[in-house]
Symmetry: C2
Subunit: 483 residues, 2 copies
């Protein structure tokens, strides 16, 4: 047993202590990614003048993983994941807790320990107000294409394509393709295909995918890579990413002022990027037009589609043969699958909720100002899985439509989404003007350099990375001597 | 003035304190490499299971520089250099000082501080017996294609193509294309084009290049990149290196057992590499045959040439249209320049001394077992600039031939070279057999991975690298728990 295998066993033991009432994670991860792959890819780290710099890892395997911002990693296996700390809170920021104002005494950092993450996205600052300076992921296993978004985790298991969003979670199991945004949760099993948004005392949204439908799109059997249509879509395009990690590529398309296009994104065909657009690493663009202020986050696929302006594609969103008007939100791991014969049109200001599957059997047109969820193949499905935002705002005492149940205040729910879209656009720099004070990721990522780190290539330590710590260079030392 | 410029001024001040009797290094280096270049290239670090790992740098610019082994760098600018710590002494090694035996209490490491190195090679363990564990380069400036070989430096200036070999140097200026191997030296000016080897009480070798000849091959004007035939040769081939730093290349030619070919070497044309061959990073091979156990060190050019077996090409050696028999040594920065019409043949066991220029105006044949030095264009020159090793061994009281003066014992001199060649071949793994215990660099470098480090890409810190420390990963942590 080499050291990497021992590390894996150590992680299994730690996570199992937390999850002993639910599951044994050993069979899930013991043979999931073979040793050759775990030691076969470099890890990389973004460097800019805009992001606070601190990175430390010890006793870990980081194969193919990207880091940005302050991160501390120990005793973990993180495979082809994105650990994006570019929205961490800073020293001096003030956070309001109930009526109390608390000031951060140091920069927030991401801390990952005793965890195993596969193709997982970690992003955003934590909303755990009791741990302001540390966004911790501990004793946690997260499988393919899961999203840990502003959600500190302790003792959790995320199935493939699961998203936990703005939720502190303790000893929970999140099933495949489940979406959870509930603020705080512990000792809970979230069923596969459940979409669950709750704000205590304000509203609760629930949607449950039919088991057979879910099985077609995301099927997971313990210990094996997930299968299904979503996985096939991604796997079919995997080879396009290979050259990106081997070559330093020049911008394959013009990048106008205010925009940034990661050199670790795939760009194919007649693709166009307008001003203030952000294209993150591991995004995939083919015959895509991204209009002013739009963005494509990690693990997005935008193919044969146009985004008019200020459109947000959240992490893992896929948009195929679709035409989006202005100011549209496509949530995490949503799958908008039009075809040349059955294209998809989305009207302005609409919200496609996270984990929505639209797999068009006929041409579909989503009206402006619509909230969309669930599973849609036809116009009739669309009818049953959407509501105009105006109607939603009038709801004060609940709504049931098909597999969706909503309770509470519709206006608050709608506004939470609207505020969030606005916030995302701001953070991404969609409204940037050269004279204004509103630069975001699109601008701050423009001059990014990448450090590349390799594991031990052979021997007992094969696949583990040497301990590495990186700090800002101090500057005052070179101040000129006054005469 | 940004921080990188302030660092440069800080280095100038430090070096000038040491060299105040000789020169002001400011005009030499202030505009030598422009800022864009100093911030334009990544630095890289070799990782294997065979080399002790420790790397730390603070407040430095490392543009384009390669590191291997334990290195500590602070307040320095190191441009496109090679800092190779793969022959550093290890903890527990015993060194004999006079009659005393001293044991190393920690691994030796290379420490570079307040220094400015351009395209400089640093290699080998130090022979400074008073500082066994630290190979220090302090307050030193070294220009293009200089070699610092097993030579601790304090307050020194090395001109272009200068080599200091197995010599502790304090407050010295080494002129362009000078070669110095004298054990210990301080407050000395070594003239450009002087080849100087001295072992106190045993022998002294001196050769002085004619000033006009030297000017043709290596011309240096304060503050400008060097010129001349050697520089032209290198510059003409510079573009071939560009793709190597941009792409991950597969082996361009088959690499047989026991051999290693750095992915950072250029390989062109019908080139062949035999067993136990070592090709270092920044070597250049074109239509080259490297026979069993031969090696091409950093900054070597082997072009339209064959090396039969166990031939050593020391750092910066250039071999063009030449055919070498077995077991030949070509010293540092030697320039063996045959042409298709005027090829060069070298017989077995011959020694081409460091900084020898052979620029053939007619076909030249160097007999076996010959020592060669100086400047040679014709058979008549060769006659005057060589001696058979057998004759050399009989010399007990000096010899003058042209611009060469030798005093002392010829046999000791010849044996010093022979021992060294043997040592180099051993260290490089030329005699490796899979069942034996004689692996060297050729074998140990086979599974090498490279970490890549970038400077701040913009802002006040542009060109400086964030502070970085890398340590071995500890292993005992993951030992399984006994039942």
């Amino acid at each position: 047993m080499n050291q990497l295998q021992k590390l894996l066993e150590s992680i299994v033991t730690r996570v199992n202590v937390n999850l002993r009432e639910f599951t044994d994670v050993g069979p899930h991860i013991r043979n999931l990614v073979d040793r050759k792959r775990l030691s076969g890819f470099y890890a990389f780290y973004g460097l800019t003048q805009h992001h606070p710099l601190y990175f430390k890892f010890v006793e870990s395997c980081l194969s193919g993983t990207y880091f940005l911002g302050k991160c501390d990693t120990s005793r973990s296996i993180i495979y082809k994941s994105d650990i994006r700390g570019d929205e961490l809170k800073r020293r001096g920021d003030v956070v309001t807790v109930g009526g109390l104002k608390v000031r951060l005494l140091s920069d927030e950092f991401i801390s990952i320990r005793d965890s195993y993450l596969v193709k997982t996205l970690v992003h955003n600052h934590s909303h755990d107000l009791e741990n302001l300076e540390k966004f911790a992921i501990r004793n946690t296993v997260a499988l393919h294409w899961s999203n840990i978004h502003g959600s500190p985790m302790e003792g959790c298991f995320l199935g493939p394509f699961a998203t936990v969003d703005l939720t502190s979670a303790h000893n929970c199991v999140f099933g495949s393709y489940s979406y959870t945004q509930v603020g705080d949760i512990s000792n809970t099993y979230v069923k596969p295909g459940r979409v669950w948004i709750k704000s205590e005392g304000e509203f609760e949204f629930n949607y449950q995918f039919d088991e057979d439908v879910l099985h077609q799109y995301v099927a997971y059997e313990t210990g094996k890579p997930p299968k299904g249509i979503l996985m096939d879509y991604v796997e079919d395009r995997k080879a396009d990413f290979l050259p990106i990690y081997s070559f330093v590529q020049e911008h394959p398309v013009p990048v106008p002022p205010g925009a940034s296009l990661s050199p670790y994104a795939v760009v194919k065909g007649q693709t166009r990027v307008d001003r203030n657009v952000l294209v993150a690493q591991r995004a995939y663009l083919e015959e895509a037009w991204l209009g002013e202020g739009s963005n494509a986050q990690e693990n997005c696929y935008i193919v044969h589609s146009s985004l008019e302006a200020e459109d947000v594609t959240a992490h893992g969103g896929k948009i195929i043969h679709a035409h989006l008007g202005r100011h549209i939100f496509v949530g995490f791991n949503a799958f908008l699958h039009g075809t040349p014969e059955n294209p998809l049109q989305v009207g302005e200001n609409s919200i496609i909720m996270p984990h929505t599957i639209i797999d068009a059997d006929e041409p579909l047109e989503i009206p402006a100002e619509t909230l969309v969820w669930g599973y849609i193949r036809t116009a009739a499905d669309l009818e049953q899985n959407s509501i105009s935002l105006k109607e939603l705002e009038d709801i004060t005492d609940g709504l049931e439509m098909g597999a969706m149940r909503f309770s509470g205040n519709g206006k608050i729910f709608a506004n939470v989404f609207r505020d969030r879209i606005r916030h995302i656009l701001e953070e991404n720099g969609a409204f940037y003007t050269p004279t204004g004070n509103n630069a975001g990721h699109a601008q701050k990522n423009q001059e990014m350099a990448f450090n590349i780190m390799q594991p031990y290539p052979s021997g007992d330590l094969e696949g583990l990375y040497p301990a590495l710590e990186i700090n800002p260079t101090s500057v005052d030392y070179f101040a000129p001597i006054e005469d």
